[in-house]
Symmetry: C2
Subunit: 218 residues, 2 copies
């Protein structure tokens, strides 16, 4: 039986040419895709448009991604990967419901504002139509939020409410309010966070309480 050889993790600078161009090409494609999506909107963009915005051959594209959806997903996941730990951290260090909620919203809205390019351009589509797409990484973020809520309930910080619905409500408000926030002439993340936080701070108190925690539905 052949011994399994661990690939040697070479220091950054000493990567082989092969590895370098692989990273390079991937970034080239993602960069081009960001430009094209922003220009044409997701719906109107074709794989060929992305390839044309690149010095690469069509075959090369398919070595890295198998469709425009996958490129799109990668772009979204990059954002999700940057924001997710921050949100989680914000919530675990929260000493009160208020900190939990307001920390989540403030972090999210600030991120959205800073990442505005991605957040908006990506949603732009032909005419008045808008698309919203949840990648696995984003869905994992939702899942994490729900777990954090359940943990907060277990610690007695939150009353025993339906964590699944509460998660959904938080997500819905976060995304929808973020969208409106970005449309205003002056983007005021504090005001948006204050609004959303106040809504939930007042609202959670009156939520129907469960005898036992709700099992995950999917």
């Amino acid at each position: 039986m052949p011994e399994y050889i661990e690939p040697i993790p070479r220091p950054e600078a000493m990567l082989g040419k092969r590895e370098q161009t692989k990273i390079q090409n991937r970034e080239t494609i993602l960069e081009a895709a960001r430009r094209v999506f922003a220009e044409l909107g997701y719906g109107a963009t074709t794989v060929r448009d992305i390839i044309r915005a690149t010095p690469l051959a069509s075959g090369t594209f398919y070595n890295y991604f198998k469709s425009k959806e996958e490129v799109f997903q990668a772009i979204q996941d990059e954002s999700a990967l940057r924001i997710r730990p921050r949100l989680h951290e914000e919530r675990v260090k929260a000493q009160s419901v208020e900190e939990f909620i307001s920390g989540t919203f403030r972090t999210f809205f600030e991120f959205v504002a800073s990442d505005e390019f991605n957040f908006r351009a990506i949603r732009r589509n032909t005419d008045t139509l808008r698309v919203r797409m949840d990648t696995p990484e984003i869905i994992a973020g939702f899942q994490e939020l729900r777990e954090d809520l359940e943990s907060a309930i277990a610690r007695g910080m939150l009353p025993p409410v339906d964590a699944d619905y509460l998660m959904a409500a938080l997500v819905g408000v976060a995304f929808e309010v973020a969208e409106r926030m970005l449309r205003r002439e002056v983007v005021d993340t504090d005001a948006a966070a204050a609004f959303a936080t106040a809504l939930f701070m007042g609202g959670i108190r009156g939520l129907p309480q469960l005898a036992e925690p709700k099992p995950p539905a999917s």
Copy 2:
């Protein structure tokens, strides 16, 4: 100058053959599209797939719709057109905030549950990706909700809060909670409505209040 001749509005049953097949064809296409979208998901569906699910020729399709987006829009708009008046009515006849909010949510969740086929199938897409699309008719519904909120504020039923954000929050919660509701083994619209209503009933009280009404942002 030639006299303008008003087209004679004939009684339903006496429509000319031309008019009848026009209505017929349109419905044939929409029906086929519903099936195909449900089967393949919106993203994977091609105009040709829809045409193939129909006895018509490709050219005919383009006499009625100019793309799959437009078909999709028409399907969505049909739903929106059915639910919008009901929601509006529910809100204008509301004598209190509680009636306003709970009436809106109950009506919406019940509709979504009855219209589940459209609501779910339409969102299904390749793999874990989901799309959400707001048609002009749906956006008009949002607008109407905001106007109803503003009118409620004017009547003193609601405190002078940011109607734009409140509308966004209501919409976000409605859609996101609806989605979770449908995933559960037993779809309980009352429970979902109770949850969402309680959230807002408690939450609205504490919302930041405005000196003067917020002007529309877009």
